[in-house]
């Protein structure tokens, strides 16, 4: 009963915040909407008993990605510039496509017997986080995707620094 209440409340807050994130002309407000949505996702993860991922969600998404987004909004703006209209000329088509996609996804979920049938509820093992850690470095488990992901992160790190730095000329321009 409490779980249902928390779920409905979280889902409502999340969806309103997501609408703020895509509709607000002021992009700093939009980023705040995104932060609230990300927190809502963390709450849903707790309801799903994925505790490690709920914490990771807060640390990685709310702590790092949201801050990066706020930074880049503020770095790519002139001081005091008007926000103006933030949608492009084809936004009605975007609304049509997004609405159609959502309706079709909803119909799919509704018509799918496996989803509405209540599966025999199994409990999550208490040592799930330890199992996840072991599976990530297990040669018979997921060590290859894990290592590929770490190489991807390293490549992204170096690439991001290289692209954003822009060489000595940009550095001189920035100093005036």
């Amino acid at each position: 009963m409490v779980t249902t209440f928390v779920f409905v409340l979280t889902a409502a807050v999340m969806l309103v915040a997501a609408l703020v994130a895509v509709l607000k002309n002021n992009l700093v407000h939009a980023a705040m909407g995104l932060v609230v949505t990300l927190f809502g996702t963390a709450v849903l993860f707790v309801l799903l008993e994925a505790y490690f991922l709920a914490v990771a969600q807060v640390v990685i998404y709310v702590g790092a990605i949201a801050i990066l987004i706020v930074f880049s909004i503020m770095l790519t703006r002139r001081v005091g510039a008007d926000w103006g209209q933030q949608t492009n000329a084809t936004w009605p088509f975007a609304l049509l496509v997004a609405g159609l996609l959502t309706v079709l996804l909803g119909l799919m979920v509704r018509g799918w017997a496996a989803v509405t049938a209540q599966p025999a509820s199994q409990a999550v093992p208490a040592d799930m986080t330890a199992r996840l850690g072991a599976a990530l470095v297990d040669p018979n488990g997921y060590v290859v995707p894990f290592e590929v992901a770490s190489v991807l992160l390293l490549a992204a790190l170096i690439g991001a620094v290289y692209v954003a730095w822009g060489g000595r000329k940009a550095e001189k321009d920035a100093q005036g």
Binding site: L15, A18, L48, I69, Q86, A98, A160, G166
Partner: protein, 102 residues
């Protein structure tokens, strides 16, 4: 327990809102915000399926961890690109980035 379909419907709505953000927004960072909403919808779906269909296995959690890493890499590279683009064009609106013409 909350039915699985509730999670899926919330995720579908979140994904739809994200799609609208990606398609309708003019500013590149706002497009990235839409992308993050879509990533989160997928994460909710992955973990809901893990919890309801295979809670004793680790496959769903590992998928979610890899999605986290890919999302972080995508945001880092994307924002670096936007800063480089802003330096070159003086704007981060995708309408203004028109090097390719036809």
């Amino acid at each position: 327990m909350i039915p699985l379909s509730w999670y899926l419907i919330v995720a579908a709505l979140l994904f739809g809102i994200g799609v609208y953000g990606v398609l309708a927004r003019k500013n590149a960072v706002a497009i990235l915000i839409g992308l993050e909403l879509m990533f989160n919808a997928v994460l909710v779906n992955v973990l809901a399926f893990w919890r309801y269909l295979q809670p004793t296995g680790t496959a769903g959690l590992v998928f979610a961890v890899i999605i986290f890493a890919v999302a972080a890499a995508e945001v880092a590279v994307g924002l670096a690109l936007f800063i480089a683009v802003y330096r070159r064009f003086g704007s981060s609106d995708v309408d203004d980035i028109n090097l390719l013409k036809w």
